[in-house]
Symmetry: C2
Subunit: 180 residues, 2 copies
């Protein structure tokens, strides 16, 4: 599981609350990389604290609910550094659309094409989002860090491009067959 390490990485940048993590990170910059549910974030923070990889102080607020501010510990830092260099098993991708296409022989061509076009719209939007991302030259971010972020964004973008191209080709193939 990588989520604990995503959180450790984010807490290494600076201290944050669970709410910060959700709204500043997982809804934003990291979203293309690792999506996470609010419930899961809080539960993972609990686990990280129990393991001694993060520590927590409560900030009492009177106009708003109190905040639990988390920061990475030395043990957490060591753990993160080790994880960052250890081999992780690649994810298994399960694509429902491919299953549909695989078994679609009895389905009329226009219905299949419609499915693919629906997906194309979604993917084109995602691709546009990827291409719109500007990696900020934040005060504390080094050139090296920006380069790494570019590499990450590059794969995400290429992935979407590949998908879009394939969808366009697949639609063209099926359309040419419809007409013949």
């Amino acid at each position: 599981m990588s989520l604990p390490y995503v959180i450790l990485g984010l807490l290494q940048q600076r201290q944050r609350t669970g709410y910060d993590l959700k709204t500043e990170c997982f809804d934003d910059c990291i979203a293309h990389l690792w999506q996470a549910d609010q419930a899961q974030i809080y539960r993972t923070l609990d686990r990280l604290e129990a393991q001694g990889w993060v520590s927590c102080t409560v900030e009492i607020q009177h106009d708003r609910p109190n905040r639990k501010i988390y920061r990475i510990t030395e043990a957490g830092d060591t753990e993160l550094r080790q994880w960052l260099q250890s081999h992780q098993i690649p994810p298994i991708v399960r694509e429902p659309l491919l299953v549909q296409l695989y078994f679609a022989a009895q389905i009329p061509n226009p219905a299949i094409i419609q499915l693919l076009e629906q997906e194309l719209t979604v993917r084109q939007k995602k691709l546009a989002e990827c291409e719109a991302v500007v990696i900020p030259a934040a005060e504390n971010s080094t050139e090296r860090q920006q380069q790494l972020h570019h590499l990450v964004l590059d794969l995400v973008t290429r992935r979407e491009k590949t998908y879009v191209n394939w969808l366009q080709d697949a639609i063209a193939t099926l359309q040419s067959q419809s007409q013949s």
Copy 2:
């Protein structure tokens, strides 16, 4: 969840046992598309039977354990046909390697490069596997079916190619930086 529909699709081709599904399908042709655990296959078959989408007869064997032979019902066929035409939400891909790269700024370059090269080996092997797949012109498979299978395989292959290319580029980028 698509697994029930993968199984329906496979049972539509011909009747099978849980064991058949695992050994002939999920370990083989479908593996690039949808991986499934043996436990999950059996439990899904139970659910499909309870829903009336498949039926089952027991074949008594004396030299070996009895087999439960499953076939798709008319209700199952209708259900499958509908599912095949309904929009499925695209999967969320979570790539641990990208998380590592994103937070790798403090990690020495050679360590990062090693990670990427490890992944490159894995992905090149996968790509070779994809390219080695020959879609059989089985007796009962139509030209249309083969075309669809080609489209599916095409995306899987393109996906791996994209990954391999990106890894090579990323490694080159990091290496050039190491030397400067």
